[in-house]
Point group: T
Chain length 143, copies 12
């Protein structure tokens, strides 16, 4: 049975409670349940992690090398600042999809630059929680 | 029956023949057929146009105001240069999804800036022809 | 009888329907009628065109060389991107006035640069439809 | 009877004597007389000041709050450097029109940035002395 | 018999009438005749087009794929703004020569950037009408 | 008895009347009274000036050299443009505290640069009128 | 009894030992004792943390949501690089004061940009350890 | 008898007292006496002014038009910020020499840009008080 | 016996497996063994750590103050983003050598800036694993 | 008999041996022979020099003033860095053609700027050795 | 008897013949004779060199260390590009004056940056040949 | 017997006499002797050159093609300005090591950019004379 790693970046545990105008009202728990239902339907196994630590996310990715077929990641704030996560994705060679809840290109100037996009297979942004679901479906087709 | 407008920007008629390393081997005709199959399944009607003319694309969008529920657009080269298409999307108020075959953010520097992204609901990029199919499914849920 | 060319750039046919907070509620038809009343009062003849096509606007200007005494233009989105329209204005040598409905200098950063202003006699911006009327009166005095 | 304040910025007292290729041959006195004739025709009262002092211009604007209905200003050199005049205009809330004799956007690079434009109702530039007259007429309609 | 496509970009129909200090006194018709004489001498067939429309130029290039052996283009104003024409040249894979009448690198700053040069075989600029003739001779040797 | 100079920069006489969303509702008179109460409690003497004139503020500072122990200044608009006030503070060598009512770093881009901060002992910003009171208390401890 | 969270960013445990010319001689322990004395006087309870880990600081802030009334933070090196801490502060909605020991605006260029300032209530910088004490007093008045 | 105007910009009254490492120990009075001795020797008459006010310096220059043959100016802090003084020098057409005590090009970045240099006949910098004396001698030869 | 700390930054545990074209085929374990052989020969003791966590690296450095004579560090991805590690190196005052396997100056633009280089004694880059060995030998001579 | 100077800039003596992918396989000797054949045909005399020394190239050009009718130059690496060669070309007033073997505008960023182009009559680039031959023919027509 | 070295940079041997609008009509020989007359009057000995070679100028300066008391240099084109000459001046420690015939700050943008000014005692520019004479007199006073 | 070329760039003949705070007290002669001792130990032959001339350094490198196995170069000031030396290194294809005495990345901004680093095998900087010795040892292992 294929295994897929899902990583939620910093502050995403606050989802639903935090600035709902930007991020919507759905909680991280609800997103995870929806993702699992999609996974079940396709008979794949999901491992889901949320972390506020750049280093921990790098750990997760580098250890995923031989254990996962694909990575679905919302790097959140680390999108714009983490060369380490970028390097980890390049190094593992796992098929990776980047998702964002909001349209990062119509927010503050410093969010218009993603260090992650150039090293992923594809990016989906602006659809709220649906970005995750589309991303998982796309990932399932790719692997 | 809901109607959706699909616009393919400049040079996309060459798809399949043009630089397959970047754009893949599928032809525009094949993409359009796949899009129609998805549309049929969801009982919506698609109007599909390809144009190399910025002004023609603006015409199509401004005239779509009352006749279409949603717009799926791959602005191709005009992504990076057309304020006119951006303004047309803002002005019509139609729900719009932007798609790109390639990952524009790991190509030449001048392709890293999309004038269109800030005015659309969501963007999907890097999945080849699948960007269109994901985009249409996302659009169908939004409208 | 003197002849004057009026060119409305892309998306201006949506005027009145489009983002009224930025552009006001008056329609293009009402503006055109008001412009004609001014022209009648001054015994000049107006030719009025709206186009979403950069090339068409260039065509209009290059053909206006010997047939019109003055040009009143709202280049809209092409203000910021069209070297071709700029070159056409320089090449024809017709007295030209640039007008804008909105104050382009307090909107998005990319609208703060006009490629057109350096080659026109004068620019009027921020007065809504009145920008056109002031522009026409100024043009009538110049020619 | 409505009162309007007209402010001429630095060096404008030299008008007519100074670089006529850029600024024309009309003197400030002639401009003021023409402005008064327009005002008389519309039954409004003008107060006209010229000052080379940024602080004095700020004083004039801040004191104008309750005494004037509108402000017609040519900020001249302070256009490009004065945050203080900009703040004064924002703070008073008087309807303000900015005018320039020359086309500041085809002169030196440092003149292509106006700190004043983003806080005024409208801007008129490049018509020589006529910029003032158009500006006053526009102001009279707005108030 | 080999066929070559010659494209003249926007405003070049005004040649000879337009700003002769920059562009010289020769007309487009004279250039075309001279080009044809060169072509005759080399027994090749020329198709010559002038267009002010970016989209039309893209159409011409994309349709040239199987019908022409080489392309001689003066992109004029679109040199600096058209990603679409650049993409069309890349996509067709026809041997392409870019020519300019004037020395674009000693004119305004915004003309110092050519989006076209990086995708052509060679560029010739600054020789007036002779840029075309040298370009055609170079093209004839390359194909 | 120690003497302290307080300088309010341009437009601060409008405080309470001017854009209360940004600057709060308290008037300059109320701030001055509060500052005097703090001064009385600490047995120091305050001299308080408001000026819209950059030159006058420079005069005040350069003359303060031997007569004041400390300077509390809100340079307002001159924060971003006045090298002269910066030089005056450096030259006098008086202990200086810079205060701002609003958080200048989340307003317009041009307000993100303070020419004054690099030459003062400390800066306090964003607390409304309280910025002054904290600043005075800090100044009293430093001198 | 109100609770306040104090966070000391990276390297601040070296305070007193580290580059005393820039940061002063007082130790973190002494600062913490002084802060507690102020807290006791005002009958509030302080929780004080020092961490070199960006992720840990994000954890602390996101968990503080319901347990603390205010946050006093010296983000130190993360001031200039952490979008994650910025997002955590925005998301929690706790009243936050940012303090710096040194005047970051007269040090290296890369320290002149604070990602944190735009999302806090107020900032105090340059007073050495006193920045903390002023910051705590300001925070106590705000909550 | 020829008349020459000497203008000392802001903060120069502090000379000798202010930051002697940068500006030297000589006072403004001593410089003025030395300048007068040179003037006497050459039988010209000097008018010497020091002002901290940008507007006052503009007044002095604009009024100097018909009364002085030459201008020797140390614009000090206004060197880097005053378009108004620059315009005044251009407008008067008096032969002007710019002097600086210090080498402004090896100090802070913002002092590396002189708005004044492009409109003067010549500039002398870095020689301390001697910059003035050389400047006066150069001016005497030019007029 | 002297003690030296060796720190391997993020993703270096993947060495040998990761992008061998850029980083070579040698594993981290082999590098560490080679480093230990050099250390043994010189009778010094090595402590070697690899971490993906910026905060952990800061912890290691700040705690190294009194326990190690020198630091050999490959900051990897944190080279370009970590002010915290830079500050930790400055604060500890340990002799530090920075090494890189690859030539960071001929890779992506964002890798051309090292925040670490300005605070170390020396830097060695581009020699693959040999960068470490040269670095250790250099460090042994310096301490 | 007319005389023409040909200058080959730095490293061009390595032609044919050096990076053939970029510069082609033809040697400098072969190019020179071809150039001489063209010259013979047109009855002009060529002087050909290769130099790696910027100063020597300046010497050659400044001494060419009265002895040569035209200059054909490939400034190679000095294209991007030599103001001295640019000034020499301007000063001599000889008709000058600049040629480049490769298309410098699709190589490294620092090669996209030619200091020489703005002062020459025309530029030909990207045709390999043929750039020289076209350049010589163009030069022969111009003189 | 004191010895002074005078260095004329590249292309200055063309003086009087070259672009007289920018550089005046006086020849280098005349300047040198005038400089010698000044030197004779002050009983100092001049060594005068002109060179188009950056390396030769560096040679001259590095060898001047023990043999000359002062250096008067017009670096001409190397002003803007030569770090080597800058380093040579710093390294020799000779008192150095930089002169320019023209006002380099109102010419092309790339001439607005002098690499030499930050390491000299003083700079004199814009006075034509007189810049040299003033420079020599200033140098004579300094040594 | 293998031969290695050592090139010392401009001003390095002043070593030991020049700014010892930056470059140390060791002379170039001492460095050369040390380098020869290392070479003797490894049975290789060194040719050592110092030159202030960019062109001479290019000559040395281009002629080294067939005669040397490796190049050890300290390009000094030419590090930041010489495309010609960069091209010479690329063209020869000799294994090259770049060394710097000082840490160029904590000096003036213009020294933070090396044109040479991207084309060498490795770079060693900041170790004073030891940079050369480490560089030679590294070079000996590579060839």
């Amino acid at each position: 049975m294929k295994r897929i790693l899902v990583i939620h970046g910093p502050n995403l545990d606050l989802l639903g409670k935090r600035e709902p105008k930007i991020y919507g009202k759905v909680t991280l728990k609800e997103i995870n349940e929806h993702l699992k239902r999609i996974a079940n339907k396709h008979k794949v196994c999901l491992a889901i992690k949320q972390s506020n630590h750049e280093g921990e996310i790098v750990d997760l990715i580098t250890k995923a090398r031989d254990r996962f077929k694909g990575l679905l990641i919302n790097p959140a704030a680390y999108t714009h600042t983490s060369v380490a996560i970028r390097d980890a994705i390049s190094a593992t060679g796992i098929v990776t999809i980047e998702v964002h809840l909001s349209n990062i290109y119509n927010r503050e100037e410093f969010r218009h630059k993603s260090l992650i996009t150039p090293v992923v297979s594809g990016t989906i942004l602006g659809f709220g929680a649906k970005s995750y679901y589309l991303g998982l479906e796309a990932l399932l087709e790719l692997i």
